[in-house]
């Protein structure tokens, strides 16, 4: 019997608390280190701490915030900033769309999913895709909400606390802090893959991500995602059909 079908004797509160405990996991700690770096970056850029905490809670995704801060610093028109942030955030749609069928039950109300979707960003997504299979289906939304809300709240407070306190790290430390994020994402996606198509998408996405960053830096992530993902899906489907025909 797997977590999918096992009867669940625990309450929603129990699964919310189990999700909260995810704060003491490797991905959460790596994300917090990234937010320490973000706080140092915004302090150096002289963005008031209240605005930094506000955007941490309301935007949440770190790449989107880096682009937003860049727009604020360059004095970009609000429409230009909106366009830049929107383009960087299209990836949220397939990420959320892939997560929803894993966590909802037939009775989960849509408004609840709309609320918890706010807490989706790369780290929470990778963590959730890895761990929801260990949670009975009826507890998954509570589990994700517990993790996402705690992680967001703690990072809002963290940014407020360390803002200004961190002036400058030694270069090796800040270099390693930055590098933690990509290597953590790589290892975590690999171990959490439950479908063969994930390995293909990871490999092709890395290669095309590099290629498009060189030839079309404005739309690199989008192009690599849509073209690379479709290619990975097509290749894996061909393989599956070949195996079925054998």
């Amino acid at each position: 019997m797997t977590a999918e079908t096992a009867p669940d004797h625990h309450s929603q509160t129990h699964w919310f608390l189990v999700g909260m405990r995810g704060l003491f996991s490797l991905p959460a700690i790596i994300l917090m280190l990234s937010f320490v770096g973000f706080a140092a970056f915004t302090a150096e850029a002289k963005i008031p701490v209240g605005q930094v905490m506000f955007m941490t809670g309301i935007v949440w995704a770190l790449p989107a915030k880096v682009i937003l801060v860049g727009s604020m610093l360059s004095g970009a028109h609000i429409a230009t900033a909106f366009l830049a942030v929107t383009l960087s955030s299209v990836r949220m749609m397939p990420m959320v769309a892939a997560l929803i069928p894993e966590i909802r039950t037939s009775r989960t109300p849509t408004w609840l999913l709309l609320i918890v979707s706010h807490f989706v960003a790369i780290t929470a997504w990778v963590f959730a895709m890895e761990h929801v299979r260990d949670v009975p289906r009826s507890g998954r939304v509570a589990f994700f909400a517990g993790f996402g809300m705690t992680l967001t709240t703690v990072n809002i407070l963290l940014v407020g606390l360390v803002y200004g306190a961190v002036s400058e790290f030694p270069p090796i430390v800040s270099g390693c802090l930055f590098f933690l994020t990509p290597v953590y994402f790589l290892a975590s996606i690999w171990v959490s893959a439950r479908h063969r198509v994930i390995y293909w998408a990871l490999g092709i996405g890395l290669a095309l991500g590099w290629l498009f960053a060189v030839i079309a830096p404005e739309y690199d992530i989008l192009l690599a995602g849509i073209i690379g993902g479709t290619l990975a899906w097509w290749v894996e489907r061909m393989l599956r059909r070949k195996e079925a025909a054998r």
């Binding site: 990836r91 706010h118 800040s174 930055f178 990509p182 953590y184 998408a201 996405g205 993902g229």
Partner: protein, 113 residues
């Protein structure tokens, strides 16, 4: 822009919050219509993973801050050594990540960072 008054908060809410949550909400609407065992979900999974992979590639190839001045071969080498350790010990993320970061730190140190 000036960072005084309510305007920066309005700016963050429109250009930051609406610009990101619009896509999350679209994902909920789309995800609600996808059957868990359908081929469409397979494609959505592949696209979502490839998008994240592209973000990873960009962080490695075009880092910001201190690493901008580091050579590409060092960053790729750190990923390769970390990957080798990760597979050698039976896919343990902590080992892979630790080895990769240690390799990077050693390389940066030897290059005089």
């Amino acid at each position: 822009m000036s960072f005084d008054g309510p305007w920066p908060y309005i700016y963050i809410a429109i250009a930051g919050w609406l610009a990101t949550d619009f896509w999350r909400w679209s994902g909920v609407i789309a995800g609600n219509r996808i059957d868990e065992k359908s081929e469409v979900l397979n494609w959505v999974r592949a696209v979502a993973t490839a998008l994240v992979a592209a973000v990873i590639a960009k962080l490695i190839v075009y880092p910001t801050g201190v690493l901008e001045a580091s050579p590409l071969w060092l960053r790729l080498g750190a990923v390769a050594v970390g990957a080798a350790a990760f597979f050698a010990v039976g896919r343990r993320p902590v080992i892979g990540i630790g080895t990769s970061i240690a390799t990077l730190a050693l390389g940066l140190h030897m290059l005089g960072f």
